[in-house]
Symmetry: C4
Subunit: 299 residues, 4 copies
């Protein structure tokens, strides 16, 4: 594909909302969500990495320590969150996923092996890539239903990428909302590429905020970045929340139990959530509740 082939239109055709009426006279909304990736975050594209036991142990922390600690905290603070979980994790840590479900949290779709989706240029010339991406999605659905009886309505793109054809497929399979895009402070409804002609309604997008991806501030293995201090992370998160609140927007977290459940990061999570709860007109909710509200509003 050459530059001349880039169409002259915004890559996101969704209508821009000027404001959202949040429920209960709330001024803005905090969508509390976690990606429980466990080892899958570490074998991504290199399946052979799964033999490297210490490498894998960085992800395993999420299951051995992270999720139990996070569940305890959420229970203590009486908060309900969404956990996006790859199918492999659901099959491997089924009991833990049941704990998440039984504690009243929503479980969303997050692929199967946490593979980055891929697709050919507009028209599927190489069916292999699209096929593998579709297989990831199918196996994710299958694992969630068989192990947990869950038919997810929310989807977060593994490795943070997505395509029109995949959005369309997700819509066909019952997904109602996505939480992967980074281009807005308000929710919107995706407009699918008209050339697809599938007749599906676009998904609702609950856009995420990279500043709330705890991985970026606290993981050193495989990263070029420094670990930030608690003071630094809280400064960033409180600023993001305060300004988004002033704008009446949506703040979406992308927390990971394998990060947020580490000792010093846990202190940050706890302090941030307690801080958020002091903001009276902030609605803290999981994805399903937000989706239901927005649908009622006709978005």
């Amino acid at each position: 594909m050459k530059h001349q082939d880039i169409p002259l239109k915004s890559t996101n055709q969704a209508a821009i909302k000027s404001e959202i009426n949040w429920p209960h006279q709330k001024k803005s909304c905090l969508f509390l969500s976690f990606d429980f990736d466990a080892e899958t975050a570490w074998f991504d594209e290199r399946a052979a990495d799964s033999k490297q036991l210490v490498r894998m142990s960085h992800g395993g922390y999420g299951a051995r320590v992270g999720v139990p600690k996070v569940l305890e905290l959420l229970n203590h603070l009486n908060l309900s969150a969404t956990f996006f979980i790859p199918g492999w994790v659901v099959e491997t840590y089924t009991a833990l996923c049941e704990d998440i479900l039984n504690a009243g949290h929503e479980i969303g779709h997050h692929g199967y092996y946490h593979l980055k989706p891929s697709i050919t240029e507009g028209q599927p010339k190489s069916i292999d890539s699209l096929e593998q991406s579709i297989e990831e999605i199918d196996r994710g659905f299958e694992a969630l239903e068989r192990c947990l009886g869950v038919k997810p309505i929310g989807y977060r793109a593994p490795c943070g990428e997505n395509y029109d054809l995949i959005l369309d497929y997700l819509s066909q399979k019952g997904i109602k909302y996505s939480s992967s895009w980074r281009d807005d402070i308000l929710p919107y409804r995706h407009v699918l590429d008209s050339s697809l002609d599938s007749g599906n309604k676009g998904l609702l997008e609950l856009p995420a905020n990279s500043a709330f991806d705890d991985w970026n501030h606290g993981v050193m293995k495989g990263s070029s970045r420094n670990m930030l201090t608690r003071e630094q992370v809280l400064s960033i998160w409180q600023d993001e929340l305060e300004q988004t609140h002033a704008w009446g927007g949506l703040t979406t977290t992308v927390f990971h139990p394998q990060v947020a459940g580490r000792p010093s990061r846990f202190m940050i999570l706890e302090q941030f959530l307690k801080h958020a709860q002091t903001i009276e007109d902030l609605w803290i909710a999981n994805g399903e509740s937000i989706f239901r509200h927005l649908e009622e509003q006709g978005l």
Copy 2:
């Protein structure tokens, strides 16, 4: 090219000014400028990236949220800035660019697809590269004029690179000032390579300061760096401004709406601009005003 072929002269032959007389008895000058790149910042050299919708959404934020928020702030603070905008963005977000123009801001040339210019070694042996660079410039001019009726006099090099042959071409086409070099705290007039013999006058340079490129402190996607806190960015920016002011120099910002318009970054921008406005003998201006003043001064 071998090291032996590197000429024994400074790569910048422009005369060094010892001081500038700023207008209205001001001691130094703040050139307020933004690069409104939108998606083009993300497809650079890999056109196929434009199919990756989440990747693109990082840039799309600039159009959906960033520019409107920045315009509101500038209006509130009664400030006029320069927006350097690639042709593709002008064609794709024409209405938004009209808003920029109608709010009294200057629009500068910033390429078409935001491609890094390239050129062969001194003499154009491989005409392809130079030709593509020239085409980028021509299409940028054409889009600005057709969509907005703008004939730009300012140019900022996309991806921060430039060459003698391109400076010469820009001068032929009506560009009066450049704002891309990083080698001075005072403006200067470019001296073109004498071998070009084109008879054009060198452009005026309003050199930029990398510390004021907000991308460096606040973008994590595709970057190896951490996000800095508001306190950290303000510390750096206020120090840069204070020392440049003490030297009577020019402080040039390289802000991006897709960064500066993010919630926590917006707070930084607002606080920095309000701080700058408290410095009584600081002249805050856009590029055209600075150029006009310097030209009157005979630079």
Copy 3:
């Protein structure tokens, strides 16, 4: 290996402990350990690097300055630590290693050339890699015994990686505990891959904490990261310690004399250790003492 070959089980089959009874009514434990790598940290995979004298000098600092300064501090604070040392370092700096031993510290196994272990996929098809990994281990044992009369019971994986086959071999050769995994805040006993059928008991794991790897916060040569200030490192370390203490867990340091012995880093180390000593119910110990206690507890 393809993703389909990744087994559906946690890569760590060790039972999760809910709590540990630390000795003397202590609430949590700080395992104080250093990796004395000297030059080996810098020739890793590229033996030819050993000719680059300035590159090597970064590691040499550990021997010329780091270890003597650290030993002085530990003596002053009356603390006993574990030093994991590659065989090459033991042979090259034998007198210094004797000083470590004579000062009452434990010496653990850390490979020979500090090479990252490698192994083929499950079954050793390419015997070369496994053989070299085994040779590293054998030569490490041999150097420790010949030069220092030490038969180590602790092992830390050089370059932070390990495999089932190597854990099994270490167990056969007398190693009792490992301190390399990053997946828990409590010690546990490794469960070896049942397909190995070697009859060996799994090693006890004293999992480490990457936040306490001083390399990550203070080395710039060959690293993409910034050096953190004393205030930043102490903030992170005190938070990690405080939360792990609240959880009754194990805090394991991965300090390096070539880092911790640098002037500003030495101040951090000294302040951190003095801070730790003010926590009355914190047990600060070396690996052997912790292993003996846990074995008595039947872990």
Copy 4:
């Protein structure tokens, strides 16, 4: 070269000093030195980069602004420093180098094109590499003598690398001290590889401290790191200085005018030097003065 060929000896055979008697009852010493690289820092291995004018402008700042500002400050504080300058810079910016010399500063050897030296494995099998390294050194000497009448006695390795064969050659050509190694807090005398049998006395080493390389904390172009704030850099530098002072050691700076002369970095430099001058028993000196003193002491 394979790991088995790595000799079993420290890569630095120099005797370790336990203390140094600094002159005038001073407790420790600050070796104030700058690397004035200008554009050479940016064309290193890729000569063709010299055509990229904006890239080059990052280095050009050192000549247009950095050196004049630094000289003014040193004059104001009455301090004499050492400037290590590549031959290309001496030939290109001769008048500026004369200013440095006339202000009472020492000029040291820093290569010609600022190329990283290279050499074959122990014995020069591929003469090309060693020859080019020697040519770099010869041309550096020639430029310093012809343009400035300087016969340098100090050498700092360009791109921070050096080899036994090159140390030996430098000694033959009149160099008396090196300031490139990072393995000590006290000066020492190099012991040349005995296999060289050249009869030359090893150079005196004034080891440098990477924490005082301002490039690491303040350059973003071509770097993966963040810019640190003034507060952060001063925290690191004051800690390094305070602890080295407590140890009676040598603190060697590796400042660069193209960094230290940037507005916010200049404030850091000024504050650091003023702070250092408040420490009464700290000797601040250039390399030649330190060398003369140590030679008198018989080192």
